[in-house]
């Protein structure tokens, strides 16, 4: 790969890059054994007010250095955001709207647990302005839910879906597969029910064991690679019949249900991250791209905000931009327009031409010069495809 020049980063036009907002609400009733996200137990509703004040301060502070761009989308993730009351969420969204006006059609997604306490608040969340829910169903089998350490059961899941349907036009069902001891039939049962009850969006993803989780230190017995692939194949076939289209590695949807916020990640758009442990990615007006990160512990976060501490920032070296871009863009089933590479990295496509040529020759990337996207074969080996854009490993 040609070495990009450190001084020519200015051909990036930050104002053309969509800017979304990610809000992290870092508490959970109980930490799941597979989860490596920043989440903390011992939530107390008395924390809500202070934390939301901090989030708004955080947003004000970070927005100053970004310049004026419209708000593309909002995502409230966690943790378990639905531990927060409807009133708190309303105060949060009102605050955001005052700082950075939320458009009428702006997608505002909130992650929610299907527990009964949370589900009872769905109506309040809707009135607060949330217009899309992402429900962490994971499975409809009680035994599996128990093994996953989830706090809800399948009856509660069904009830939550029922309530979500009443109040939301758009919601996602999160379903896992490749669960401990799972067979192809039980995986398909879960998927079948998810498709049946979905409103047109299902995230269906394989359980992976991440470092710093309970499952990592005490690994459950997972299905072998062949079973996992059989599950994947059968699931994809089932989706095809259902009419939901795969648009990302783990996401299937009808067109109008696709997550705008996630699409922004995958097209290498910008996002401000507020809250404990939140990450952001910002293209500065000088054309450099930085990643921001807040302290993971809620207490440190609150203290930091009170003291006006800026988020930890790291500039992405230009040599890392191609792999960062591809890591996201190639997750999209149809890839992205080729012009997006230059628009969102500031680099000429020529810097990755040798890798692209080789991948095309090996049948892993599509030969369409207007788009950057994998072939069906390359999509299955996405990690290998992305790895070939790592600057230290190109052979």
């Amino acid at each position: 790969m040609a070495k990009p020049c450190e001084h020519c980063a200015t051909n990036l036009n930050a104002s053309d890059i969509p800017l979304a907002l990610y809000v992290h609400l870092p508490w959970c009733e109980r930490k799941c054994p597979y989860c490596d996200f920043n989440s903390h137990e011992q939530f107390d509703s008395s924390l809500e007010t202070g934390y939301i004040d901090a989030l708004l301060t955080d947003l004000r502070q970070q927005l100053v250095s970004v310049g004026s761009r419209p708000l593309f989308s909002v995502f409230l993730g966690g943790g378990t955001p639905s531990l927060f009351s409807g009133a708190s969420i309303a105060r949060l969204l009102n605050g955001i709207d005052q700082i950075w006006s939320i458009g009428l059609t702006t997608e505002i997604t909130m992650e929610a647990n299907p527990g009964s306490a949370e589900a009872s608040r769905f109506a309040d969340y809707r009135s607060a302005g949330v217009n899309r829910l992402s429900l962490g169903i994971q499975s409809f089998a009680d035994a599996q839910l128990m093994a996953l350490g989830r706090v809800h059961d399948s009856a509660q899941a069904m009830q939550a879906i029922h309530l979500a349907k009443q109040h939301f036009d758009r919601f996602n069902l999160d379903i896992m597969h490749g669960l401990p001891g799972q067979k192809i039939e039980t995986a398909l049962d879960d998927l079948e029910r998810a498709i049946d009850h979905s409103q047109g969006h299902v995230s269906w993803y394989q359980l992976t064991i991440e470092p710093n989780t309970t499952f990592w230190s005490r690994p459950p017995r997972l299905p072998n690679d062949d079973i996992l692939t059989d599950i994947q194949d059968a699931g994809e076939a089932r989706f095809l019949e259902s009419g939901l289209t795969q648009y990302e590695v783990s996401a299937w949807a009808s067109h109008q249900q696709m997550s705008q916020h996630n699409l922004n990640y995958w097209t290498f758009g910008d996002y401000i991250g507020i809250g404990a442990g939140a990450h952001g990615k910002i293209t500065k007006e000088n054309g450099s791209i930085i990643r921001t990160r807040r302290s993971r512990s809620p207490r440190d976060y609150l203290t930091g905000i009170a003291e006006g501490v800026p988020p930890h920032q790291q500039q992405l070296p230009q040599t890392e931009l191609p792999v960062e871009f591809m890591l996201n863009a190639l997750r999209l089933k149809n890839g992205v327009p080729a012009s997006l590479f230059k628009a969102n990295t500031g680099l000429e496509l020529a810097v990755v031409e040798p890798q692209i040529e080789k991948l095309v020759a090996n049948g892993l990337l599509s030969a369409d010069t207007e788009r950057i996207g994998t072939t069906d074969h390359g999509y299955r080996f996405l990690n290998d495809v992305v790895a070939s854009f790592m600057d230290n490993g190109a052979r």
């Binding site: 990610y22 490596d36 995230s203 993803y205 394989q206 359980l207 992976t208 690679d225 062949d226 692939t229 994947q232 590695v249 783990s250 996630n262 990640y265 996002y271 991250g273 939140a278 990450h279 952001g280 990615k281 990643r291 990160r293 792999v323 960062e324 890591l327 996201n328 997750r331 090996n362 892993l364 074969h377 999509y379 299955r380 080996f381 996405l382 990690n383 290998d384 992305v386 790895a387 790592m390 490993g393 052979r395």
Partner: protein, 599 residues
Amino acid sequence: MTELSHIRNFSIIAHIDHGKSTLADRFIQHCGGLSDREMESQVLDSMELERERGITIKAQSVTLMYQAQNGEEYQLNFIDTPGHVDFSYEVSRSLSACEGALLVVDAAQGVEAQSVANCYTAIEQGLEVLPLLNKMDLPQADPDTVKLEIEEIIGIEAEDACPVSAKTGLGIEDALEYLIKNIPAPEGDRAAPLQALIIDSWFDNYLGVVSLVRVTQGTLRKRDKFIVKSSGKQHQADMVGVFTPRRTETAALVAGEVGFIVAGIKDIKGAPVGDSLISVAHPDTPALPGFKKAKPQVYAGIFTVSSDDYEDFRDALGKLTLNDASLFYEPETSDALGFGFRCGFLGMLHMEIIQERLEREYNLDLITTAPTVIYEIVTKDDSVINVDNPSKLPDVGDIQEMREPIARCTILTPQEFLGNIITLCIDKRGSQVDLQYLGKQVQLIYDIPMAEVVLDFFDRLKSVSRGYASLDYGFHCFQAAPLSRLDVLINGDRVDALAVIVHRDHIQGRGRVLTEKMKELIPRQMFDVAIQAAVGGKIVARQTVKALRKNVTAKCYGGDATRKKKLLEKQKAGKKRMKQVGNVEIPQSAFLAVLQVDS
């Protein structure tokens, strides 16, 4: 300066595990060469690799001052010798600096073949060989039978063999007394012009070339000028001295002594082993007889994993050959592996050690191809060529006759394992030359194809005899044999570096086991990998490494990207030690799969 009459230069001949290093440690300890605190077990095996493997590879020396019972002080120069069958060449080098050798025999196990061979070398070189019975502390020690064996098998007087236990320290002083009484003092006129033999040379990053020399006549003082006889180049001795075993500078090395010399020689070929150092004032002083060059028995290609390391690799080989003249190398180009070197080794252990030294001491990532012996090919036009690389074999149509090297193998074994060993020899296509009962042991002489001997014969021999049988072998002759080249095809392409030459009777078996082994070693990739073994155009075995069906990270949103990237970096690092042949990533181990095939 020690009088000639009070110098003793000696080696120890012993089988691995018979206690040579421990005995040497005892000698050093007894003579106060090191304080107890400094006494690291097995001081002489200084190469990290040597200590790990518990074997001696390189000649080392130590000079000790011994206060004898007669009240006089003696200078003992002990030159260590390697004990493994692969390194007989090094043994003869060490012996050439000595007037005597201690033959250490395990009093419980008896004489073994390698010691016999080394004893003969010592006797041929005119050394006094003194038997020593070690491990006398063991309850199963049987000194009388072992003495008888020494007399019957080796043919030296053993009645007075000195009983010792290097482990407990029993008899160490007696052994030293026995040594100074029976090993002759060196001769040599210290006033005569300098004449010294280079026994060993190695490269030190700070000092340049360091040489171990035996002065046969004259004196070499610090700052003296001398000439390296073969090149005629003049150098000045910056430093002379002895190992005690610490490197200790002295004012001079005199006739009869063994010590080191540093002369600011930077060129690694400047002081070759076996060369003579002579006085500048007397350039006509004749050279001492050098060493017979050891002939490599095993050849293999060595390649760097990354082609960027090629230059470093070449320099490293140059430095290694300085003190390992038995290592042969010449450039080789492989379609599959790129540029590398065809290297010749004394045996498999030698090959493993060279590869390990290159990787450890020079920090190189290497791929070694399957080792092969040297074949003699008679072509249709009656010319005879030597082939040390299966991929260089002429077309079958051009070959009139293929001849393989035959090793004459001497095996000593307790009688109870005789049946197992004969079966093994027959299995390895051996033919019996001689069988004799000597003491408690049987001496078997077999002619076995060298290719079979170097592959895993020694290990197999040890395993069928519970470690008791011992082996010595040497090249005997070339013999016509029905041989073929077994090619390995990866996804239909012949990989030159994987070809091996096998006996026709073994084609099916080797082909099958080789492909099975490779299937285990090649990781699953994005596509099926077909591994085929073929002779000529005919496929004799086939295995498939089924394609990996997917390699995708399930979830990835926003801030995850950094973590996912790290994960991919890890995956990628794991592949770094693999060589890409065509589209297929092949790990180093697969190139040596043939060694793990015991058919």
